[in-house]
Assembly symmetry: C2
Homo-oligomer: 342 residues x 2
DNA sequence: CTGAAAGCGCTAACAT
DNA sequence: ATGTTAGCGCTTTCAG
């Protein structure tokens, strides 16, 4: 049987009000009374019932974090960072997985069955368009994660995808590569992020005076290693294969490298590869992967800050926060295998 | 302003009791009344307040899942599986990260600040010993994850680590390897899992008639790629380096392979490598990684089942479920690089 | 089958 | 500074 405030009050010979005050520490309590109450608290082993407290306060103290897939390293790393930040704020995070399905994303926003349980939501949308997310959110505080076109209706934090893709592609061009392929194209309605990265890629090509060859654009349904490998296969089977490839995320790049290496292609000599996300794997792959590295800690920090402000009732207009990124140059474009070549 | 049962009752011209019955669907309601109520429900857009419901029911409907680190692929993959299973059961999962810290693990078990919020806990303990976990759990339903010595005080699901390590090591011996190293030793008080794997490793060595060379046992503080790389460095610098290595998890193996390859060591020709966990990375690394593959889906399924039963009040004595595993043989021990050698 | 009403444990007016 | 008390929204006995 759990110990309630009443039990403690009786034991200490005071009112529930006083015990509540001691527990919450908000109001002044006479030192003598406080000591008395604390003794009883201790003695009975009181634990506040958070559900009751939340009901009373009209908040749950829970925040949801929703990613398409929890085991995609980029999301896992971001989740870790976010959970770390929220802990410092005394907030508990419920982690949800949308599987990139529109119905799951919708349910989260609409406060369906389970979602009525949290005060706010940090969402990395995949299936739903910007507009629909904003429409469905209604009064629920929402912070959008991930790189998407600005929309000005919801808070969101992201990096400049077009710029990042441009930097990645330009890096390849600077290495003297002439046939630079891209893996990860998607249809614009499906995936905004892919669209932005594609734009950056094409802009950089043009800026470098390189032709835009549609043959070098590979569309993939999702961003996992297997499709990266398949895409590379397609590229290698081309009459004139590319001498570089920009993959729209690291997983695609890792899969692509795997396939290329299996086929005897040397990286970076025959083929240079750049990824996107800077996941841990790419730092230990052979060769290590050059990639766009978004500042994940910063993203986590800002997203949580924004959400907390909204939950607290901040009425200011939606903000768009552009987080920093950098190009992490590693062996897949520039370095050599350490001992092997030395 | 949220719509409450009372609002709906007034609108429908019935009592709250009836509306509640319609919503929960537990009791029979006259068809006419039901239709009437449902119309009002719809019209007002009623959403049950889960916090209130939970207060009344004395449950939260939340279950916590705690891993040392969310971005360790093995945990991320398991988390995904568990979240998937719970969704089918209408349970919401709070994911916590312990950082392998004793104080965090303790707080979860004791129902500290935030933890009073959930009905049960699936925990993959790292810092705390078996006994202490059981002591602290008190009345909280807990299912332990991860491979540890049997203790019979709490439910737990794991694979047979000793056997798995034996299989992994034996596989190496069967390939004709004579100097088989092991990376991932830890002091028994610190980490039971490491201890079990070490035992399996040593048993297999003995069974194969191979000597136990302490020089070939590398201790590592944690199980990430960086320490795997460092351990391999140590092994390569030995007067007589090993011709095979069993790493206590895939991350260590990936780091070790990376270091070996950088040093010009050929895998598997000069050095065979086996990992443990079967994370996605190992299927696309170069070379692909031979590893112990636990049945994660099954583990997730059983763990959730056990917890649900406990939360529902199942009083039967603690069960230990041994999940299946298999050895996934890949290039790092047996295969060759496809095109390169062919 | 449905209405009235009593709390679940807590917080916060409202008193004193 | 502290006691008294009215709910937060819901489920569920108790009647009828």
């Amino acid at each position: 049987m759990p110990v309630t405030l009443r039990d403690v009050a009786r034991e200490a010979g005071v009112s529930v009000r006083t015990v509540s005050n001691v527990v919450s520490g908000s109001v002044h309590v006479a030192p003598a009374t406080r000591a008395q109450v604390e003794a009883s608290l201790q003695k009975l082993g009181y634990r506040p019932n958070l559900v009751a407290r939340n009901l009373r306060r009209g908040r749950t103290g829970l925040v949801a974090l929703a990613f398409p897939e929890l085991d995609v390293p980029y999301f896992a790393e971001l989740a870790r960072a976010i959970v770390g930040v929220t802990r410092q704020h005394g907030i508990t995070v419920v982690i949800e997985q949308t599987d990139g399905r529109a119905d799951y994303e919708r349910e989260l926003l609409e406060g369906g069955a389970r979602s009525a349980l949290f005060d706010g939501l940090i969402l990395s949308p995949l299936a739903l368009g910007v507009g629909e997310v904003a429409d469905l959110a209604g009064g629920l505080p929402v912070v959008l994660l991930g790189e998407r076109e600005a929309h000005h209706r919801l808070d969101h934090v992201a990096i400049d995808n077009v710029a990042a893709a441009r930097v990645a592609t330009a890096h390849l061009a600077e290495q003297g590569r002439r046939r630079i392929a891209a893996i990860g194209y998607q249809h614009p309605e499906t995936n905004q992020t892919a669209h932005l990265r594609a734009r950056g890629y094409e802009e950089a090509l043009t800026a470098a005076g390189l032709p835009l060859d549609p043959e070098l654009r590979i569309f993939t349904g999702y961003y996992h290693r297997d499709l990266g490998a398949r895409a590379m296969r397609t590229l290698l089977d081309l009459p004139e294969p590319p001498d570089a490839v920009f993959c729209f995320n690291d997983l695609l790049a890792l899969g692509a490298m795997r396939e290329a290496l299996s086929s005897g292609v040397r990286i970076p000599r025959d083929l240079a590869v750049v990824g996107f996300d800077d996941i841990e794997d790419g730092r230990y792959s052979t060769p290590t992967l050059t990639t766009i590295s978004p500042d994940k800690k910063h993203i986590a920090h800002v997203a949580v800050q924004m959400l907390i402000a909204r939950v607290a009732g901040d009425p200011s207009k939606p903000r768009e926060h552009i987080a920093a990124f950098e190009l992490a140059v590693r062996e897949s474009t520039a370095g050599r295998h350490r001992r092997r070549s030395g």
